[in-house]
Symmetry: D2
């Protein structure tokens, strides 16, 4: 049996990247660089698609960016004359885990060849797909993206920008998409701005779009602005253009971007991620103070909140859990014993916790299994008390906008009280940040808290069973 | 630079295989076995698709059957409960050489999930594709197969058999196709029967369809009959069914199946391949006798005709050219010198030719470059005369029905007289079999001789430049 | 060009692991688990060797543990009946970077088949090798280990333990070795204890030896004690045995184990690593105080010292540099521009440093190139001052005991004053911990400071040019 | 379960190749080319070693030449300035099937770095190895070659040529070896000339040594002469030199070279292989005539003898068994049914045998299992009689000179009469060529017939159980 040493985190699904250069550039390599910076957003598959106005090439496969692209494979895409490119890293959401679902998806249409990379989910994809199936359309993947591209293709009287705008109005959900033709790069975002997308520009004039500013910086671009919720932007030889397709919505960006997904050096919708995490930790400390000797983060995502907690509480921050940097690799585990060793392989207490009352700060609890093991590790290492603090509220509801939080029945907080969870994980005390505390910590636009409170700003699917969507092939 | 040691042969494009078993069977492995027997028909890609009525799985990739399918990959397809499967080996024709073009092609339609494997070409694919593009359909591959599947899907009011029959009527060209749903296996052949397809049955009742009887035998099936030109057959839990969709055409099977493509142990449309080759050799001997000491085949495809030539002429058959069985492997050749060594690597004269007047029998001459090198090798090895005899007429025209004979301008016989070719290849004499001699040797139904005489029984594309069809992705 | 995103750290060379179980056990998997925990000590090659008393199997190759061992390969070693095994992870020191140098090294001798895994260097290997070469011995690798094994084999009248003890007396340098026969596991350490080796025991009675206690814990063993400098221990069916082969030396364990190599959750010769790093940071703060706003570690190795610095100075600790967890992967970098981007790919400032006076804490400076880039990144991100603090003294001398610190001329501190280095890296101030401060922080046995002060406790090679040792094959 | 579709042939063990060029040349590529021509002599592993006088590089691995050497790997060896190189293809004999046993073996000795490639076996390797083990030598492989190299190294007062000559006198068995230092290429052959080795020269002056002349021709060299039994030759910048080390033996070349191993376009000790096979077939026809309709070879090795049989008997030669050219590839066979299908996958009768009395000509019968299946295939295809004729005498004894004929108890002819074998394989009649007929057909020097008559010209091992020699690692 092969598995990845345990995480018990929500899984982000995708990172997208696009670039349009007014003059020929090393588009494939720049896109590769951008994907490298977005690798944390999806480790299952990676792909790049480029065009020089004539040729239109794609390479994609299962694996990390560094595994999919060796020099030979990247070189196939390095047209000296390319101007447009998009890239994608993926963690599977709907659709099974097959290479045929890797992106960018490339198709030939009446608008020429198109490539598309997509982060998020369309909640009405199922109905749209069925309607088109009934109408004689065939589907080769289980990507929502194929549904979107078919909508665009069917609007055959319209040009690409118009057709895309029309399709945006038909599709509902949380999404951020980059789309390219031989001569244009388009980017757009759902009307609630659930999924992030920002715009940058390089010194040579090239326009860049990406899920996080970190990817802009990795290719030497400066941050220009975020794509607005409901906005469609496109770059071509005349520069950057914008169309507000679906105005007037209350923005509700995904709060998990700040809690866990985004890199600590990123900002999302202009709100700095590291600062937000510090504030979450501070809020947690104020909301659920406890007497203790040290504050220990679950690395790496708990670090910011732990620093905030330490500052607000006056308790020493310490490095109480060593994280094996190779623990993300494939690991062979043959026995039941192995399963119990797996968290140990990844996380190991340092001497800091010995004889100490520990405040342990993590960003979330999904199933709770890993949390229990970590608490246990700390106790075995001599911690006298373990007070668990979580910088997100209890996750009680599934996400329909592109995050894999596990099925509802697996969400420990949807079926247990906080006291029950505390007992289960074996902590001396357990506290989650409040929704108000979280909202205040992000201090940004409205945020989506659907997985905490069940209020879905962008609608939900008619039928919840997303597995039904899956094409077996 | 990497190349495969020289062949100067027409390239067959594909082999197809399908199986329907009334009870659960090891469908994936049987299909693998069938593809192994058809490997000579296509070495570029291989794929298998299976279903047990619920699940519908496909695995395909670039490479030989033995390279694409290791145990792990084949095991993924080995549902204990499968009943239907199809397989494909491919040599690329239209469409570039990408893994995305590997078959079976699998799609979701209003008729459920379908898998398709295809040998041949549709001459009106370009127009059909354009018409559908204009209508808002999108295409993800450059396979003709995707055009066909879209036609079937668009006939949304009809069931799968009816829609397939209707689509057969719309498509023109030379083709043999196996198509599967979760519960049915379909097979059909163009109205001229240009490309072959036959039916067999195993002792356990399973129905098998394949490009050649050899593949039936490899899975323990007995030959039942050929699919008739223009016929659609299908197997399901009620048995084998037939519909004559396009009756009344004069059959014109591809003559190259007997000349070169099919295995020596196969028969095509009930005409035995080895016997036909013997007769071709005999006809050649009668048409173009020459005094000589030995008859030498270019192995392996020239063996049958050489035996026939030897018998009719009374000249000794001998094994004058050793063929390195590893010469088909990838070979690294760095320099100009290397290119000249490459035929040597594959073919090497034995002592049989020393001091002898040699009749050299080959099945075809396309560009003539290899022929010149072989003649030269024989002379260097001491042959005193080399008389070149070819068991096909001069190839002057391209094939539009699925064979890659090279572009017309590269066909040496379309721009040179026989005497010019003789001088070019350095033979003492050169003769090709006559069209009449060939037709009589096959002694079967009408045969397609389009590449020799330019008479295309199944029409030609509106525009000849097939490359224009290619999607770059 | 392919390179690993920059590090400018001393490279540890190896981790070793061994296990002897009184009853049959899953030796191969336990060894794999131990190597996983030691992966940070060597990423170039990995290998495992096991025996069940009869069979003696080895698998090794270039790559990470997770790359070398997939399930198929590990299964080859999983004799149900094995009792002895050793494993090795390697970073190349002497000898080129070839698979033939991967360990364990396995040989057949008059003492039966032996397997050996080795951390460290023998300073007299060159002379020993030459002497044996002159005597008619042949060498197949460039491992020092082969020299050692030949010494053991040549002592043909002695049993394995006696011969090993004799060989220990002949070899000089810094080393820790595990050695196995079909029925015994031996471990030994140089008389100065330069390289670490400890002993543990599992609940089922199995004896374990490893470079770090973390590897003991990873297989469920408890720490028993360190192997003493100059001691030879061995486990067999009669239990664990010890022989003090070379008594009386002043122990001088490598100080870099605490500074950088060992995991934060390890202890070396009973001195806790994390606590030592905290004390180094505290000493640094006392020795070179500066007014500043935040203390920022270079992750991950600078974290402990930064926490210590923050505590002793009263300045806020903050997470100022995000480390991309995928940056250790192979990365394709085509241009000069790329080379400048490479540190950016790995490290990226968070908002914490904006407008702040930063104390940046790193564990060492070797060439200084990376340090300059990090300082520059912080300034670009808005740090108003950058004060560089280093938790090791300036490295001025090469290590001859198994650490690759780069050739002397590349050691920036051997050719530049501290003020010159400060100017070069662009810091506002620069300070290194003093030798006294370091020694006090480790508070353990005598430590080896040779790379700082040139005093080599275990001797040096007759000729320094270790490259001369290299076999080209 | 994975196996190679059945052969029931003696397995040749190795091919060797060496080249010395007076001026810098593309040694690695020429050696690769030579190995390609010798691929039929060993498919398990391949390796190349080159030197330019300074550098000494080796690459080797399990697999075919085309699998081991892709462009990247061959390029590593392509020193623009190389002058010496050797290569090896291997089928395992003694020693298990591990990559560590791949050749060339490269070692550092008092005579500098040496590389060695070896075909054959030393019958006294076991005693030599034990004697040296007792003396404190260690062994890392199970190659006989390592024994030889140790002998050479131990003669430390002598130069390489002298030491090699001395070692030849100590070792007994059947062998052909190429050995290189940085500046010399040596070749030598056992005193009986059991294993073949010949010398050629290229137009540019480069000296080439190889197991078969075909390999000389593949690199553009002309055949000069065979290395004489017991002779040592070497090439260096002064040209080609010779020393008759062990004169006066009766040459007894392995008869299986002509029967089966060597390419049909080769000659061995100046006796043409194809002609010898023709004569074997003629002798068989004279010795065991039968009335029949066609003579059918088991392809490919039976072709020559079948042609000879047809000529001497006046019965038509025909192509009665199609051989699938892809059948040598790895093949997955899951069930008992599969095992029965495996010969079918490789060999398939053509229509030629239907209704015919067939003389089936094969080169040897080892276990008889495959023979039975082929006879059965012919009967199923309609052959009315099958008369089995074998161009070698019954194999009753194992080979100790480098051929894997299977253990004695598996040799069907050592435990059964000819009539019993006939009944077992189901033939209507069965005849083997006589020893006299074989000897007369080869018409060359004395030949080794040990596997037929148990007379071992070069001695046998003290103990027969060669497996005892095996190092498990």
């Amino acid at each position: 049996m092969i598995f990845d040493p345990a995480t018990d985190k929500p899984q982000d699904e995708c990172g997208v990247f696009g670039i349009y250069s007014p003059q020929p550039a090393d588009i494939a390599w720049l896109t590769y660089l951008g994907l490298f910076a977005l690798q944390h957003r999806g480790q299952e598959a990676a792909g790049i698609c480029v065009s020089d106005g004539e040729r239109f090439l794609v390479e994609k496969d299962l694996g990390l960016v560094s595994q999919v692209f060796d020099e030979t494979r990247l070189d196939k895409l390095r047209l000296g004359t390319a101007r447009v490119g998009i890239g994608h890293v993926r963690y599977s959401t709907t659709g099974s885990n097959l290479r045929f679902n890797a992106q960018p998806l490339t198709v030939r249409t009446n608008k020429g060849i198109l490539g598309l990379a997509h982060n998020g989910n369309f909640v009405n994809a199922r109905e749209m797909r069925q309607e088109m199936l009934d109408d004689g359309v065939l589907f080769q993947t289980t990507n929502d993206s194929e549904v979107l591209l078919n909508r665009i293709a069917r609007l055959s009287k319209l040009d690409l920008v118009e057709a895309t705008a029309r399709a945006m109005k038909e599709m509902r959900g949380g999404y951020a998409v980059v789309l390219m033709s031989r001569t244009q790069l388009l980017g757009f975002r759902d009307p609630n701005g659930v999924r992030p997308l920002c715009i940058g520009q390089r010194g040579d004039g090239a326009w860049v779009m990406a899920s996080e500013p970190s990817a802009l910086f990795s290719v030497g671009a400066k941050f220009v602005r975020d794509v607005a919720p409901g906005e469609l932007v496109w770059a071509d030889r005349d520069g950057l253009h914008s169309l507000m397709v679906i105005p007037g919505h209350q923005p509700t960006a995904c709060s998990f971007e700040w809690i866990y997904f985004a890199r600590a050096d990123s900002f999302v919708d202009t709100v700095d991620v590291h600062e937000a995490r510090i504030r979450m930790g501070q809020a947690l400390a104020l909301e659920s103070h406890v007497d203790a000797d040290i504050v220990v983060p679950v690395p790496d995502s708990g670090i910011g909140a732990a620093i905030g907690y330490a500052r607000a509480s006056g308790i020493h921050f310490d490095y109480g859990l060593y994280k094996n940097p190779y623990a993300g690799r494939t690991f062979i585990a043959p026995t039941q014993e192995a399963r119990e060793l797996k968290v140990k392989l990844k996380l190991s207490p340092t001497s800091a916790v010995r004889g100490k009352r520990v405040v342990l700060v993590d960003d979330s609890i999904v199933r709770g299994t890993t949390s229990r093991q970590i608490v246990n590790l700390l106790r075995e290492a001599g911690a006298t008390e373990v007070h668990f603090r979580v910088s997100s509220p209890p996750i009680k509801h599934p996400c329909f906008y592109g995050i894999d939080t596990a099925a509802r029945k697996e969400l420990v907080a949807s079926t247990h009280t906080i006291e029950e969870i505390r007992a289960m994980i074996g902590a001396d005390s357990l506290a989650f940040i409040s929704e108000e505390g979280l909202r205040a910590s992000i201090r940004g636009p409205g945020v989506c808290l659907a997985c905490f409170n069940g209020q879905y700003p962008a609608g939900i699917p008619l039928e919840n069973d997303l597995n039904k969507l899956a094409l077996e092939v």
